[in-house]
């Protein structure tokens, strides 16, 4: 896929709340901070990169005050959120853009003869992750894994990774919690746990974790429930950005 459009956006998740159905625009902005370095004798203005980058996201959409909808996701300016979105479909290996963000501004716009709008701007709390979807946003049942559809990176990598779990709904069916893990493999046959996310007891929930060192060629997700119960279901996605 080369050119993509608004129809390709797979999800927009703010700490486990999927607000895609209310969103009309997402804009992410990467900026290298520069400083004017013009000195006496220069005949043209000079600029120098100061070695610091900034990542921000703004979004626009329709106001919706239903549970876990856009108002609930945005109504706390200053709050730290994990934002992830899939600009090019919700499919295995598709782009997964993610970042821990602070909601800098939330605007509710009411105008005569128009639906009420909700807009927000975020600033990243550090770097942002340009990753890939290892597990699509989908409902999953009893303990299992995604090894049948492992993500093949074609080669191992050596600079760690950042992994983000976004869980939009959870029905434990009596179990105590669900634990999701990221696994890697060099041969696509045996898989080892490399990241274990914090046990989730309620959705919406999200977590970003990082790992240093080597990450092998294949990636998969595995999940299990703690305790006893029946017919649990959880809707979640897992994205990974290799360093």
């Amino acid at each position: 896929m080369a050119r993509i459009s608004s129809a390709d956006v797979g999800f927009l998740l703010i700490s486990g709340m999927n607000v895609l159905s209310d969103a009309t625009m997402i804009e992410d902005e990467q900026e290298g901070l520069i400083e004017d370095t013009t000195v006496l004798g220069d005949s043209y203005e000079q600029q120098g990169y100061v070695g610091v980058k900034r990542f921000g996201i703004s979004q626009e959409g329709f106001f919706n005050d239903a549970a876990n909808a856009i108002n609930a996701a945005l109504v706390t300016p200053g709050a730290s959120k994990v934002l992830s979105y899939a600009p090019a479909t919700n499919t295995l290996g598709a782009r997964f853009v993610s970042s821990p963000m602070i909601i800098a501004k939330y605007v509710r716009q009411i105008a005569r003869g128009a639906l009420t709008k909700a807009k927000a701007t975020y600033q990243s709390e550090g770097n942002h992750d340009e990753g890939k979807i290892v597990a699509t946003l989908a409902a999953r049942g009893a303990a299992s894994n995604t090894q049948a559809t492992s993500l093949d990176n074609a080669a191992a990598s050596s600079n760690g990774c950042a992994a983000t779990l976004q869980m939009t709904s959870l029905s434990l069916g009596g179990y105590t919690n669900i634990i999701v893990k990221l696994q890697d493999s060099a041969d696509n046959a045996s898989f080892a746990d490399i990241i274990t996310f914090t046990a989730v007891t309620a959705a919406p929930a999200a977590e970003r974790k990082t790992l240093t060192g080597s990450i092998r060629r294949y990636l998969a997700a595995a999940w299990a429930y703690t305790g006893s119960g029946s017919d649990p279901t959880a809707t979640w996605t897992l994205g990974v950005a290799r360093g």
Binding site: Q183, A186, D187, S190, A192
Partner: protein, 74 residues
Amino acid sequence: MAKTKAKQYRALVGLSLPVDEAEYQRVIELTAAGKEVTDRKLVRYEPGEIPAYIPAGSAEWLLESGAIEEVTDG
């Protein structure tokens, strides 16, 4: 001639391993052919457990990555 004892390994992280050599070979062949590997026969091991079977081809990278350690007698 005394039979050589197979090496044993202890899981240091959670592992999902093919149940036996035949399953390992099936997965390797399908992977090499670029096909999806469905209906996997896997065994889950938690840290501290000693897997009944670890493919020789996997043991190498699992050792290197610190996911398993060799169990030595005595």
